[in-house]
């Protein structure tokens, strides 16, 4: 009986893993098949004659620049959010701040606002401010999306680090800023990495903000570039799946590297899905 239920459990888990990963592996396989083999019947699970022609085609269309744009926007937004967020998170645990309960409510409320619902007025504000279709608009908006989490997770971690540790460092001749840099920040590493991972995934995986805030081809994100590519080459599944693969590698890699911190952040309820 016990062995039977154990076997059933393992089978169910195996099935779940196949359902989760199967479609992704199928896309990887397709991206390496030559165009005339893509629709082979029965389907080839592993490409018999692998080719990189689809990746070359994407490169010929300049998709790598959109890849770099996405990377740049995401890195910039994460840096802005982590720097401003950890400074604010530190001040909220160590200093008296005027209107602190109201400020905490603003950060909490901002997490509940789905970014998509305010995209339309954001587009109009960005146009009015002359920021529409500039390189700066996406990092600014993304940073605004990630910041509440950055403040929230760093604040709760800073609160667990005793003030005496910093004071000891200050007695040893460090300035307060040095004490924070050497003592407090390293202690909050899990919180910072959780916010950074969540932030990178948020920016990299966005499509609607990217497609509504910039227009020039040279400012496009990878997601937007892939949709434009689909518009021109709708049935070129080999190239489209190559696009899916290159758009999936960075977020999945980051997720696999930092999943421990991300799952920790989820589990204490500080990150939303």
């Amino acid at each position: 009986m016990k062995i039977l239920s154990r076997t059933l459990l393992l089978l169910a888990c195996l099935l779940a893993a196949i359902v989760a990963l199967g479609p992704i592996l199928w896309a990887v396989s397709t991206s390496f098949k030559s165009t005339n083999r893509i629709f082979a019947v029965p389907p080839e699970i592993v490409p018999q004659i692998p080719t990189t022609q689809h990746y070359s085609k994407l490169a010929a269309e300049g998709v790598q620049w959109a890849f770099l744009n996405s990377t740049g926007y995401a890195v910039l937004a994460v840096l802005i959010a982590l720097i401003l967020g950890s400074i604010a998170g530190y001040a909220l645990t160590r200093y008296p701040v005027a209107g602190k309960p109201a400020i905490l409510l603003v950060f909490l409320g901002a997490m509940a606002v789905p970014g998509f619902a305010v995209l339309l007025p954001t587009q109009m504000l960005a146009t009015g401010l002359g920021l529409y279709n500039t390189w700066a608009i996406l990092p600014i908006i993304y940073a605004g999306h990630i910041l509440p989490f950055a403040v929230w997770v760093t604040r709760s971690h800073f609160a667990t680090i005793p003030r005496e540790l910093e004071q000891a460092a200050e007695i040893d001749g460090y300035s307060r800023a040095e004490a924070v840099w050497k003592i407090v920040l390293p202690g909050a590493k899990p919180a910072l990495l959780a916010a950074a991972t969540f932030g990178f995934l948020h920016c990299w995986n966005d499509y609607v903000t990217g497609s509504t805030m910039v227009d020039s081809p040279n400012l496009r994100t990878l997601q937007v570039a892939l949709i434009f590519f689909q518009g021109f080459h709708g049935r070129d599944w080999g190239a489209l799946m190559a696009g899916v693969v290159i758009a999936t590698i960075p977020p999945v890699l980051i997720f696999l590297l930092f999943r421990k911190f991300l799952i920790g952040g989820f589990a204490d309820g500080s990150i939303k899905g």
Partner: protein, 305 residues
């Protein structure tokens, strides 16, 4: 702050004021950016919803005209219905799956974290990329993955995404595939909080596995379930990227939810007044659903605690 032992009341006040000034100026930049990106547009959007705005031009105050027009439009009501169908059907599949996965992960021990990681990979992907990927999985040809399954059962491959009846269920399955596993993480945490002794006591009392699941696991999991259901509701109700990528609201508007019609009205038709009215309605429905959950599940959570 350190201060001289014989400091006068006056210098203490100065120090306190200085600390307050430093604190506020350190929080300031973050607060400013968050308000500018999240709060200000929400207020501006509400303002715009009371105006006639087309193609970025404000043509004047319109009162509740955008709202009354929407409420008289049968398509808007259908969109609300589709949003609720999409949200609740996805929830009805995702929450039990997430709970099963959470129990499986806990029972697997060392391999559990491997399974959790595997299940989370689709969640780490971009929704628009997931849409592209599934368009290829669902391609109606014997050479496609789902097409091959149809062929194996002796049927001609169906185009599920352009079928008026099957498009919505297909969309729901893809949405659940992408993100149900993130709910698993929170449920694993919730399951870990339930004392093991309770299950031992239940088996002494002669309760079988199903009875102890209903009488112990479910009630004690209520707080985690409340969080999971609220988060998934917001996530599904506001889902737009998968729909843009997979069906574009079609066929014949069958997958045009409220979120998609906001996208279409505001960014494609450029009717920004009406688009913002849809956004305000979406916000109210979001808040209403969460309030209902808190009433139902919050009561249970309170009783369990």
């Amino acid at each position: 702050m350190q201060h001289p032992p014989l400091a006068s009341q006056h210098s203490l006040d100065v120090l306190a004021r200085r600390a307050r000034l430093v604190g506020s100026s350190l929080v300031g930049p973050a607060l400013l950016l968050v308000v500018a990106i999240n709060i200000l547009p929400a207020i501006y959007g509400f303002y715009l919803s009371l105006h006639e705005v087309f193609f970025f031009g404000n043509e004047g105050f319109a009162g509740l005209k955008n709202y009354t027009e929407l409420l008289r439009d049968s398509f808007a009501w259908q969109a609300i219905g589709r949003s609720l169908l999409f949200t609740f059907a996805s929830l009805a599949i995702a929450v039990p799956l997430a709970l099963l996965a959470a129990m499986g992960v806990r029972r697997l021990g060392r391999w559990g974290s491997v399974l959790l990681t595997v299940l989370l990979v689709p969640w780490a992907m971009s929704p628009i990329v997931v849409a592209l990927l599934w368009k290829w999985i669902l391609v109606p040809s014997p050479g496609g993955l789902v097409g091959a399954i149809f062929t194996a059962f002796g049927m001609p491959p169906q185009d599920l995404l352009t079928d008026p009846v099957l498009a919505m269920p297909t969309l729901i399955i893809v949405a659940v595939w992408r993100n149900f596993a993130f709910a698993t993480i929170i449920l694993i945490g919730g399951l870990g909080q339930i004392p093991r002794d309770l299950y031992k006591a239940a088996s002494v009392d002669g309760l079988d596995a199903w009875e102890s699941f209903c009488k112990i696991t479910l009630p004690l999991l209520a707080p985690s379930l409340l969080i999971v259901i609220s988060m998934l509701t917001i996530s599904y109700f506001n889902e737009v990227q998968l729909i843009i990528g997979l069906t574009g609201g079609g066929p014949i508007r069958q997958t045009s939810t409220l979120a998609y019609s906001l996208y279409h009205t505001g960014f494609v038709e450029l009717n920004q007044g009406k688009g913002n009215a849809i956004a305000v309605i979406m916000f109210l429905i979001n808040m209403g659903l969460i309030a209902v959950y808190i009433r139902i599940l919050g009561k249970q959570a309170g009783a369990a605690a």
